[in-house]
Amino acid sequence: MPGVDGFIYPNEVELQWSVLIVLYPFLTGLVAGAFILASLERVFNVAAVRPTYRLALLTALAFLLVAPLPLQMHLGHPERSFSMYLTPHRESAMAMFGFVYLWYLMAVLVLEIWFDYRKDLVLAWRASRGLKRKLYGVATLWSDNISEKALRVDDRIGRFITIVGIPSAFLLHGYVGFIFGSVKANPWWSTPLMPVVFLFSAIVSGIALVLLIYMALCRIRRVAIDMPCVDTIARYLFYAFLIDFSLEMLDLIHRLYEADESLRALDFMVKTRLFVSQIVLQILLGTLLPIALLAMVQLLRFSERTRRAIYAAAGALTLVGILAMRWNVVIGGQLFSKSFLGYTTYKMSFATREGLLPAILILILPFVILAVLIKVLPPWTGGGEEKPVKA
């Protein structure tokens, strides 16, 4: 059979989970990571990252709204997906997805954004006319209460929501790791480390994303990039990366040392079918190089311009690396047979329902939504003073 090496069970010839399922953990990871960055300021009072606080929340929202889309496009019967809310099987990690997602979207993210933006929304409601006025009215639930007392209440509630939001973000992406990590039939996935690895790689990717978006938007708006802000973000990115890399190395070393039945099959797979995506993209370019770049910044002095370039490069490489990591987990876990005696190939189509084209469009869509959100809920008015960039 073309594309098959060795022996695979006859039903394993085609992969079950496609590139769309690769996107889902990538998108929710970005959400969790962006939220953790926002919580740095709100809960841990890291004032330096304040300029990115609202931007991080909006980024999280934009990506969270798109996250179910690849799943729906993958399902054989997307019209039945609501059954996960009607009859959720409590033993299934995937069943809990609906509720964790809904909780995080409504009770954490939307509420936090609402409480933080409420004053601006009320002011906009008062100042606008016509359709815009109606929409802002809905957004404020027709309450124009922005007294000092009310705003203090908002602040306290917002802080509380962020505190609840941190474990919620852990849960949102940790359970995705658990969905893979709890499948005892698949040794590439089955490890208790999986939720933790997913979580820390999510934090890494989310921080990198907000960093890049912030720097890009500053450029577009011609304002100066707040260097203490991005320096701090880069530092946290570095710390998170160290933890993430350690966890992944721990998993690898553990596998190599125990050398159980599956290792031979997995080892061969990594060296052949997954070489580019795992060794080159994920480990070398996506992890070691960004860590090296960020380490350099921590250890040596560079000019602001150089630092900005390093952050941009490190951020971009990080995102590529984390996307590659999701690919290696999802696709890699299906390339080898559960008989451990053979391999199949992933034939990714282009313009079909689960092909590369929808995958690319799904990756672009959150940025479009983010652009709309930034227009409607400008993140700049809540922040610190901004300096225009020198011409």
């Binding site: 022996f7 039903n11 010839v13 085609e14 019967h77 959720p88 997805f97 499948v183 559960k338 005696l341």
Partner: protein
């Protein structure tokens, strides 16, 4: 032993081949049971019991056809027609579930059946030493259950051929061309001293099934009589169960976009028939067994043979028991 039990044993016993010279085996014990009734004996005389309760031999027309023409004796005519009327019969549970039974009845006009699910706990015994790799079971399954034959990766059951070199259990050469739908081609260059055998595989109908565990909406489940089934009306096609099955026995039906797999011919075994694969096996390598039936030969077989399940380290509670399974089998 009442007429019905004898009849169902006949229908299952007749699927076993007594291989000459073989030691007392499942086939032998079953043959004994079967021989208490000769095939032509009519234990379904209409006067023996009401027609509604008959039908152990009679078979409704396939493809939902309900006619019953042709020339037959009146006794057979009544039994067959009565059975045909109950072609969609259901199960009944005793005691507390009888209230719940009303809900089931509410959606189904047919009369109550004679199959009590909790009296049964289905499994299968596969005797590796008897399998000759003819592929009859694969063909029969596809015919009985309308499984696609021209789409890749749609197999409810399949047969694997193992070539195990001496002292090299970890690297068997395995093949399963088209799931053995057309049998096996000759081995090109058999090595010296290589051990060759065939392993039929199917859904193991695990008692602690990982596929049931991961289904998010309860679309796959284990029936009260131990058969893991799929609810085609609720399945989302998320494929999580396909990932969770360690044995690779699930697949997506490209026509319905839902998950499909071996149902242990549930529509047959609940009517006293045996599965299509067991029916078609010429050597008796595959045997349907009812672990709750004290008269089932499986108990004697398990006492006298060493049986194995696939991937026991995963503790799935698999109910496909292999006799003569080699350590190289994956």
């Amino acid at each position: 032993m009442d007429c019905r039990e004898r009849a169902s044993q006949v229908s299952r016993a007749s699927g076993r081949l007594r291989v000459e010279g073989a030691s007392a085996s499942l086939a032998g014990a079953a043959a004994e049971a079967g021989r208490t009734t000769s095939p032509g004996q009519d234990c379904r005389a209409p006067t023996a019991r009401p027609p509604e309760r008959s039908g152990d031999h009679g078979v409704p027309a396939s493809d939902g056809e309900r006619g019953s023409g042709g020339t037959k004796s009146p006794g057979q005519e009544i039994n067959r027609r009565a059975f045909l009327e109950q072609a969609g019969r259901f199960i009944i549970l005793t005691g507390a579930a009888s209230l719940a039974w009303d809900y089931v009845l509410a959606g189904t006009p047919q009369a109550a059946p004679n199959y009590v699910a909790t009296d049964h706990w289905w499994g299968m015994i596969i005797d590796i030493d008897k399998c000759i790799g003819c592929g009859n079971c694969v063909r029969a399954c596809k015919a009985e259950n309308d499984v696609p034959t021209d789409e890749p990766g749609c197999y409810r059951t399949w047969v694997e051929r193992y070539q195990v070199r001496p002292n090299d259990m970890e690297h068997p050469i395995v093949d399963s061309p088209n799931g053995a739908y057309d049998g096996f081609p000759e081995i090109d260059k058999p090595g010296d001293g290589v051990k060759v055998f065939f392993v039929p595989k199917l859904c193991n109908h695990c008692a602690h099934s990982p596929c049931v565990q991961v289904c998010p909406v309860g679309a796959t489940f284990e029936s009260p009589d131990g058969v893991v089934l799929v609810d085609k009306d609720r399945c989302l096609g998320c494929r999580y169960c396909v990932q969770a099955c360690p044995y690779g026995c699930r697949y997506i039906d490209p026509r319905t976009h839902t998950v499909d797999k071996c149902t242990l011919c549930y529509h047959r075994i609940t009517k006293g028939l045996t599965t299509a694969c067991c029916e078609a096996c010429p050597t008796g390598a595959r045997q349907l067994v009812d672990l709750k039936n004290p008269a089932d030969p499986v108990h004697e077989f398990m006492r006298t043979h060493k049986v194995h399940v696939l991937k026991p380290n995963l503790a799935t509670g698999a109910k496909a028991f292999y006799s003569g399974l080699d350590g190289s089998v994956r």
